[in-house]
C-alpha cells in the first residue's frame, strides 16, 4: 500500500480531509486508530496506527519459564485463549518429544472447538451490532454464556483459562464435562436457525455486506490473511488440515471455503464453521476415553534443548505461530508470536479503498480483529 499512500499524503487534494477513527471508536473493539483520508464520504486510504496496548510480551517471555509464558499468551487473543496456550504447550512438547496422553488430546480439542464457538458467537454479536442490529448481541451472548459455564465448571475461569500446561492439563476436567458439552451441542443446534433468520437472511444485512470489501485469493496469500477471513477468499489455510496437530488428523471434517471474497463470504465461513465445530464436538465427546491421566510426566523446571522450534495452531482468527529459540536454559532466548490479527489488519487499506466510510466498519467487523493480539 505504502508508496502510493505516501504520495497521497504529500500531494493532497483540496477536497480531501483526514479523520481519525479511534482509538476510542466503538466499532474497532479495542484501541486501534485508523487514519482515514476521505473525499466526501469516499475512503481514499486507511492507515492503521497501532501500539496503544503494546505490553512487550515477547520481551517478557525472555525472563519467564515456559510454564509462566502460558499465562502471557492468554492476554494476546483473549477470545482464543485456549488455542494460544496450546500453541506454546505443543511447541514445548514437540521440542522435548513428550508423548501426551490421548485423553488430554481429546480434552484439548474439545476445549479448542468450544473456544472457537464462543469466539464466533461473540464476533457474530458484535458484527451485527456494528451494522446496527442490536438484537444479535443479546442472542449471541446468551448462547456464549452456556460455553462459559462449561469452562467455569471445569477450571474456574471464563475468559483467560491458562488450563493447558506443557505436558497436559493443570488438572482433570469436571465429571459432568462430557454431559454438559453434549447438552450444549443439542441446545446450540436448535438456536443456530435463529441466527440465520435474524441476520443471514436479512436483506438490509445483505446490502451492507455483499460485494463490500472484495479480497482476491492472491491478495489473501500476499497479505498473509488467514483464518475465516482468508478462507472467505478461497485460500485453503486451515492449519487443522494443512499441518494437523493434536488429534485433528483422526477427525472427520472439511475446511469451509468460499470463493466470493466479500464481507458476506467471510461471514458465511464463520457461520458454517460453527456447524463444523458442533460436528467435531460430537465426534470428540463420543471417542474421548473416560479414564486416563490428565498430564504426562514432566520435570518441575522445563528446559528446551538448544535449537529453533516453530509451532502452528489454528485459532478462531487464523494461523498462530510460536517461534522459540532456545539456548538450553529454563528461559527462552527469543520468543516470537506470529499472530493472525497482525497480518489480517493491514489488508484493510486494500479492501476499503474507494468505498464509503460506513463500509469500512463492515469490513473491519468482517475481519474480526482483536487488538491485543496485534500489539502483543
Amino acid at each position: 500500500m505504502s508508496t502510493d499512500v505516501i504520495k497521497n499524503i504529500i500531494v493532497k487534494d483540496d477536497e480531501d480531509y483526514i479523520i481519525n477513527m479511534g482509538p476510542q471508536h466503538p466499532s474497532t473493539h479495542g484501541v486501534l486508530r485508523l487514519e482515514v483520508c476521505l473525499n466526501g464520504e469516499i475512503v481514499k486510504y486507511v492507515i492503521p496506527h497501532i501500539g496503544y496496548i503494546h505490553r512487550g510480551i515477547e520481551k517478557m517471555c525472555e525472563a519467564d519459564t515456559y510454564k509462566q509464558i502460558i499465562h502471557l499468551t492468554d492476554r494476546m487473543d483473549y477470545l482464543s485463549a485456549h488455542m494460544n496456550n496450546e500453541a506454546v504447550c505443543l511447541a514445548v512438547e514437540n521440542a522435548l518429544e513428550v508423548e501426551v496422553p490421548e485423553r488430554v488430546q481429546y480434552i484439548r480439542a474439545i476445549l479448542d472447538e468450544l473456544n472457537r464457538l464462543a469466539s464466533h458467537q461473540l464476533w457474530w454479536s458484535a458484527f451485527g451490532m456494528d451494522l446496527g442490529a442490536l438484537t444479535t448481541f443479546f442472542y449471541g451472548l446468551r448462547d456464549r454464556e452456556r460455553i462459559l459455564q462449561i469452562f467455569e465448571e471445569s477450571f474456574g475461569s471464563r475468559l483467560l483459562h491458562s488450563f493447558n500446561t506443557p505436558g497436559g492439563l493443570m488438572h482433570d476436567v469436571h465429571p459432568n464435562f462430557q454431559k454438559h458439552v453434549i447438552e450444549f451441542v443439542k441446545y446450540f443446534r436448535k438456536k443456530l436457525p435463529d441466527y440465520k433468520n435474524l441476520l443471514t437472511d436479512n436483506v438490509i444485512f445483505h446490502n451492507r455486506t455483499k460485494g463490500i470489501g472484495n479480497m482476491t485469493r492472491e491478495q489473501a496469500v500476499a497479505f498473509g490473511v488467514t483464518g475465516p477471513s482468508g478462507r472467505g477468499s478461497g485460500f485453503a489455510c486451515d492449519v487443522r488440515k494443512v499441518a494437523p496437530y493434536g488429534i485433528y488428523d483422526k477427525l472427520d471434517f472439511e475446511q469451509v471455503l468460499y470463493k466470493e471474497g466479500d464481507s458476506f463470504a467471510r461471514y458465511q465461513v464463520r457461520m458454517d464453521e460453527m456447524e463444523v465445530s458442533l460436528n467435531l464436538l460430537e465426534q470428540l465427546v463420543e471417542k474421548m476415553p473416560s479414564e486416563g491421566d490428565f498430564t504426562a510426566k514432566m520435570k518441575a523446571i522445563v528446559k528446551l534443548p538448544e535449537g529453533e522450534y516453530y509451532q502452528r495452531v489454528e485459532t478462531a482468527r487464523g494461523e498462530l505461530g510460536v517461534f522459540v529459540i532456545s539456548d538450553g536454559a529454563k528461559f527462552p532466548y527469543r520468543m516470537k508470536f506470529r499472530t493472525p490479527n497482525f497480518s489480517n489488519l493491514f489488508v484493510l487499506n486494500a479492501l476499503s479503498k474507494g468505498l464509503k466510510i460506513a463500509d469500512l466498519v463492515a469490513i473491519s467487523g468482517s475481519l474480526d480483529l482483536v487488538l491485543p493480539d496485534i500489539d502483543r
Binding site: 500500500m1 499512500v5 505516501i6 515477547e58 521440542a95 535449537g307 516453530y310 517461534f323 527469543r334 497482525f342
Partner: protein, 153 residues
Amino acid sequence: MENTELMELITKVIPYGTVSQGSQYPEIVVPADKLHEAAEQLRNMEGHPFDYLINMTAADFSEKFTVYYHMESTKTHNLIVLKADISDREKPEVDTVSDIWVTAEFFEREVFDLFGIRFKNHPDLRRLFLEDDYGFPLRKDFKDEVNIIELPN
C-alpha cells in the same frame, strides 16, 4: 513432497546458500547481500512457489543479528525457513522483501521497531509500536531503567 527432494531442488536454484535439514523444516542460510535474490527465486520457484510468507522475525545473538523468514507453498504445503546473518551491529541493514511479499512490509516495520534493523528500499519504514526516541527493546544490550525493573537473582 519429501523434504530431501525439495532440498535438492532448492540447492539447484540457490547454489550460493547452504541448505540443511533443521529440527523440523529445511533451512536455507544465505549471505545478507543475496537475501533479496534468494527470496525472489523461492517465491517464483517452478512447481513450488513459496507464495505465502507466514512469519518474519529477527533475533539478537550479541555478535550478529539473524533474520528468519518462514514461508510455505500454498500448492504443496511445504514449509521452509530462510535465514541470513547481519554482522554489522552499529548499522544493521538488509534488503527489503516487501516487493515480493506484501505482508513483509509490516513484519519488517515490527523488526525495525524492536531491533533497529534497517530494511533497504522499504517503502514506509516507520516505527510500529513504540515512540521514536525509545531504544530497541529486543536487543540483548537494551537497558531501560525507567520501565523495566530488574529482579534480583
